[in-house]
């Protein structure tokens, strides 16, 4: 009897670990929801849910792009800088109307993404350094274009930031649509398959005749475009362009969401739903600590612990 228990114990442990790796994020989100419903007053109000969702939407949008990049075994540190750049370019070109301004933002973001992608795919620079250069330079460029905070008055931008459909803010709808689109692209398109193959093994993908360089460049451009969308939406919500602080440390929030969501840093596997849940988990954790008057320092320490636990739980997956 005892022998049998001993023999099955390790098996159960691996099974538990496996279960945690796949569903740990969702369990964490559910746990935080239940805990909050019990201990936090007014947590179940629609207003609270809307606030949390609107706050987390830009992070989700950036994290989707980051998930794709990490799926190719890359990383993109420049997303925060692209958000800042999007904010300052929006402010500069808003005079020509909302749509032209958004187009110019897209051009700038695509240029940054193209530079990242070219450095990584054509020159062969490591993603972390290539995007580090664009991160430093991109934020500098944003500040050169618009040195200080500027209030924006544009009805179109205002409705983008605070409008809603049947009580659901545009921000949430856009984030949800982008998440669904990304999940579809990864699962159902040739491009998605190629992306995963490259992340799994770049030499093998090359030998199999996949367009490695093209896919990598497109992934970095997509990531920059998504970061720009997040930057524009955040600017629209603020009703002001703030290139100094918008998107600061966003790269870390996005990477955290991706890692907590179960996408391994080693590439070859992409979990968009997990990323969304990861971003929501961190948001709920922060909100819980803030609502109970715990200082922000605790939030950071808690976030650090969550990251280490998530990576530790995901550790076995890379080896198999």
């Amino acid at each position: 009897m005892a022998e049998a228990a001993l023999r099955t114990a390790p098996l159960d442990r691996t099974r538990v670990l496996q279960w945690l790796q796949t569903y740990g994020v969702y369990a964490g989100v559910a746990l935080l929801l239940v805990v909050n419903i019990v201990i936090t007053p007014y947590f179940l109000s629609a207003e609270n849910f809307r606030t949390q969702a609107v706050q987390v939407a830009p992070v989700i949008i950036v994290a989707i792009g980051m998930t794709l990049v990490i799926g190719t075994e890359g990383i993109d540190l420049s997303v925060g800088a692209v958000m800042a750049l999007a904010a300052s370019v929006t402010a500069l070109y808003l005079g020509y109307g909302l749509l032209p301004a958004l187009l110019v933002v897209a051009v700038f973001a695509a240029a940054i993404g193209l530079a990242n992608g070219a450095l990584v795919a054509l020159v062969g620079v490591q993603p972390i350094v290539a995007t580090l250069a664009l991160m430093v330079g991109g934020r500098g460029l944003a500040l050169v274009l618009l040195p200080q905070l500027e209030d924006l008055r544009n009805p179109g931008l205002a409705s983008l930031g605070s409008g809603d459909v049947l009580g659901v803010p545009y921000l949430i709808l856009i984030a949800a649509a982008l998440a669904l689109l990304a999940a579809f692209v990864v699962r159902r398109t040739t491009f998605g398959r190629q992306l995963l193959a490259i992340g799994d093994s770049r030499p093998a993908a090359q030998l199999a005749g996949l367009p490695v360089r093209r896919v990598l460049i497109i992934v970095y451009v997509l990531c920059a475009l998504l970061a720009a969308v997040a930057g524009v939406l955040a600017t629209a919500r603020l009703q002001a362009s703030d290139p100094t602080s918008l998107g600061n440390l966003m790269e870390l929030s996005a990477i955290t969401a991706v890692v907590v969501g179960g996408t391994p840093l080693t590439g070859g596997r992409v979990n968009i739903a997990g990323t969304v849940a990861g971003a929501v988990l961190i948001q709920l954790l922060t909100a819980t600590l803030i609502k109970h008057d715990l200082p922000p320092s605790w939030t950071q320490i808690a976030q650090a612990i969550v990251i280490v636990c998530a990576v530790y739980a995901a550790r076995g997956r890379g080896k198999r």
Partner: protein, 344 residues
């Protein structure tokens, strides 16, 4: 202006037409690209400094050079630890937070005397470095993500110590700690002397000790190093510990220099340190690098910053654009050189 100068080594190395393809020419070319890799940053530093001292009257003055040296010292100490970590093929993103934490701990501890003020940051930051090293080496987690968590955790700890950043601890005048940060010896600031001593020691350790050889071996090929019998895990734990210790020490010295534990420092410092190390010719893939290059990289960043301040009409955000562009140029050049050397 500086950006055009930095193009010089790239064209010299990457654009060199392959005229003579004989064995002698190949060897010469390999030697040349090795030289550019090692001393390219130094050459650019000399050129930029010369041009700047001819262009700006106030550049080559004793005061300005002294200021540049002292303000470089703290980043240089952090970059020294980062060099060791990067040579093993790792990365340490926690140094900026540890720098801030070290400064706050030193200022807080200075009320209990200088030994406490110096030991406390070293013990705490070194301890966090040990945890980083254990998670990387024993649990085999990615260095990037481990030190990212440490970065958040250390900054949280620092904020918790300072009442969410509202409290700034001061360092009393006249104490030994204040003298260490603010005093001068032979007309040169003490932090500069300490930095030079640390770099000399670092160079000796890396080049002349068994530990240094293990650092290179682990970064060159971890499996091969393990097969040769090099203590891979111990070496990794040691380099992360060293990086944590040096970041804490740099923070403590900086606090002594400023006479207070400023809580907003160190943001983005990890990126500056990585840039300096990469500019100095250390490969991020590990296995190749040297500490003198990192010193040159730090000086180069600070000289560029100083020149942009001298120009006056440009605000400091241009400095970020130039630094970013410069880093991109350097890594492209390095990748080209590396590829060329492999091909030959």
């Amino acid at each position: 202006m500086t950006a055009t100068k930095t193009d010089a080594p790239v064209t010299a190395a990457g654009g060199g037409p392959p005229k003579d393809t004989g064995p002698e020419g190949a060897a010469r070319k390999e030697r040349l690209s090795g030289l550019v890799q090692q001393h390219g940053a130094l050459a650019v530093l000399v050129i930029v400094s010369l041009v700047a001292s001819f262009s700006f009257d106030s550049f080559a003055t004793g005061d300005n050079v002294g200021n540049m040296a002292t303000s470089s010292a703290f980043l240089a100490i952090v970059a020294l630890g980062m060099t060791f970590v990067i040579i093993t093929g790792g990365i340490d993103l926690s140094v900026g937070s540890l720098f801030a934490l070290g400064g706050v701990l030193a200022a807080w501890g200075s009320r209990h005397g200088t030994p406490v003020a110096l030991l406390l940051p070293l013990v705490v930051c070194g301890g966090i470095g040990v945890v980083n090293g254990l998670l990387v080496a024993r649990s085999r987690l990615a260095p990037f993500i481990v030190t990212l968590a440490a970065m958040l955790g250390a900054r949280g700890l620092m904020l918790a110590l300072t009442d969410e950043g509202a409290e700034t601890y001061l360092i009393g005048k006249g104490s030994f700690l204040a003298e260490l940060g603010q005093g001068t010896t032979l007309g040169i600031g003490n932090p500069v002397w300490i930095t030079l001593a640390l770099f000399a020691a670092g160079a000796v350790v890396l080049r002349r000790t068994r530990f240094g050889q293990h650092v290179y071996a682990v970064g060159g090929n971890e499996d091969a190093a393990a097969l040769m019998g090099a203590p891979v895990a111990r070496t990794k734990i040691l380099v992360y510990t060293l990086s944590g210790l040096l970041a804490g020490l740099a923070g403590a010295l900086n606090a002594a220099w400023l006479a207070s534990g400023v809580t907003i420092l160190g943001n983005g410092m990890e990126l500056e340190a990585i840039s300096a190390v990469v500019i100095g010719g250390t490969l991020l893939t590990g296995g190749l690098g040297f500490v003198s290059g990192s010193l040159v990289g730090v000086l180069l960043l600070k000289v560029i910053q100083n020149i942009i301040n001298q120009i006056g009409s440009l605000d400091s955000s241009y400095q970020q654009v130039v630094s970013g562009a410069f880093l991109a140029v350097v890594v492209v050049a390095q990748t080209w050189l590396g590829r060329r050397r492999r091909l030959l």
